[in-house]
């Protein structure tokens, strides 16, 4: 039993560091890419989202989560993508 444990420990010693460092690298790549994108975002996006929400809310019943704004940079130009989820007609006629 004791030898088995020692053997397992030796194997784990070689196996584990590689696994955890690999997952660390993956996590970092994802989060740093995301954060670099955030850093380049212009300051007005959040305020813009709030204003658009207010305007749409005057006509339709929507919540903060239903409005999403993203800025995408492509070669030569930036694209502002606006996603608005409107309530279905059935929900509307219920009101």
């Amino acid at each position: 039993m004791k030898i088995q444990n020692q053997l397992n420990r030796i194997l784990a010693y070689f196996h584990r560091p590689e696994v955890s460092a690999k997952s660390a690298k993956e996590r970092l790549q994802i989060i740093i890419a995301h954060e670099r994108g955030e850093r380049d975002k212009p300051d007005y996006l959040q305020a813009l989202q709030k204003d658009i929400l207010a305007v749409i809310a005057k006509y339709v019943d929507i919540r903060t989560d239903d409005v999403k704004i993203e800025l995408e940079r492509q070669q030569g130009c930036s694209v502002l993508e606006l996603n608005v989820v409107l309530p279905t007609l059935a929900q509307e006629t219920d009101k």
Partner: protein, 280 residues
């Protein structure tokens, strides 16, 4: 009554965030509703150590500024129920954290949580001051190393004077020492300050001693607080410390020199040879 605990140190890199994460998990696992807040301004670490970095939408400053409510900003931990995380802001504005804003958030959190853990940034500037200001209890994380001990002493001075409890003449913030990155081998060789040496200078009750462990790095790589690695010495030491915090009496482990079986064999041979030469 909600208990506000600050994890502070003065010195950077001693294990505050590691400790905050492990204590948050440990306390929540005992069934107490817990929230852990990253008080850093501009740099965000707690979310990485807790493994929730991809789910941060709103942060502490967003809540203070009214740009989001607490419900939107709090992140539910995936591994432990009853545990929530409030991430730090990455704003460049150091004045973003205000005393009134922090007080308001803590008050609101007190309505739904039993324990609020404040992960303080290093230093004694605004983030660190605000993290300790409203605390009921402080865990002072210290390495057995000269600069860390001196900085911890400085922090103890501030805890006794620059907190709400001190300023209002209430019962003092209770102070507890958590000695981290302890190596019993180096201590026995005389290369490292012992627990007794550190406490000779700091003179506060010892909450726990966490041994230097490779499990800590593995934990932060994976985004899993080390207390969840129940096989590791550091993980177990954190579990002991949490138990002590909650009032249990637990003897200190991992404080003795690890003598490898080969070394022990050689020591025996050395001793035998020595006996022979003596008698010869």
């Amino acid at each position: 009554m909600t208990k506000i605990i600050v994890i502070t140190s003065g010195k950077g890199g001693v294990g505050k965030t590691t400790t905050s994460a492990s204590f948050a998990v440990g306390i929540a696992n005992r069934g107490h509703k817990t929230v852990v807040i990253d008080f850093d301004i501009g740099l965000r670490n707690l979310d990485l150590i807790m493994g929730c970095e991809r789910r941060v939408v709103y942060d502490f400053v967003n809540v203070i500024r009214g740009e989001a409510n607490l419900k939107q900003a709090l992140i539910r931990d995936k591994h432990v129920k009853d545990l929530c995380i409030l991430a730090a802001s990455q704003t460049r504005d150091k004045d973003a954290l205000t005393m009134e804003g922090v007080e308001k958030v803590l008050k609101e959190l007190s309505e739904s949580f039993d324990y609020i853990i404040c992960d303080s940034p290093a230093g004694i500037e605004r983030g660190a001051q605000l993290a300790m200001y409203f605390a009921d209890m402080a865990i002072v994380v210290t390495n057995p190393e000269v600069s860390s001990v001196r900085d911890s002493d400085r922090i103890l001075g501030l805890l006794a004077s620059k907190t709400r409890r001190a300023e209002e003449g209430k019962e003092a913030v209770s102070e507890h020492l958590l000695l981290t990155r302890y190596s019993p081998d180096r201590v026995s060789r005389g290369d490292m300050l012992s627990l007794a040496d550190v406490n000779d200078i700091l003179a506060i009750p010892v909450l726990g001693v966490i041994p230097e462990s490779q499990a800590v790095l593995r934990g932060s790589n994976a985004g899993i607080p080390v207390i969840m690695d129940a096989e590791s010495d550091a993980g177990q030491a954190y579990a002991d410390a949490v138990a002590r915090l909650l009032g249990e009496e637990v003897p200190h482990r991992f404080m003795d020199e690890k003598v490898h079986w080969l070394k022990r064999m050689f020591r025996f041979r050395e001793k035998a040879r020595h006996e022979n030469t003596k008698s010869a």
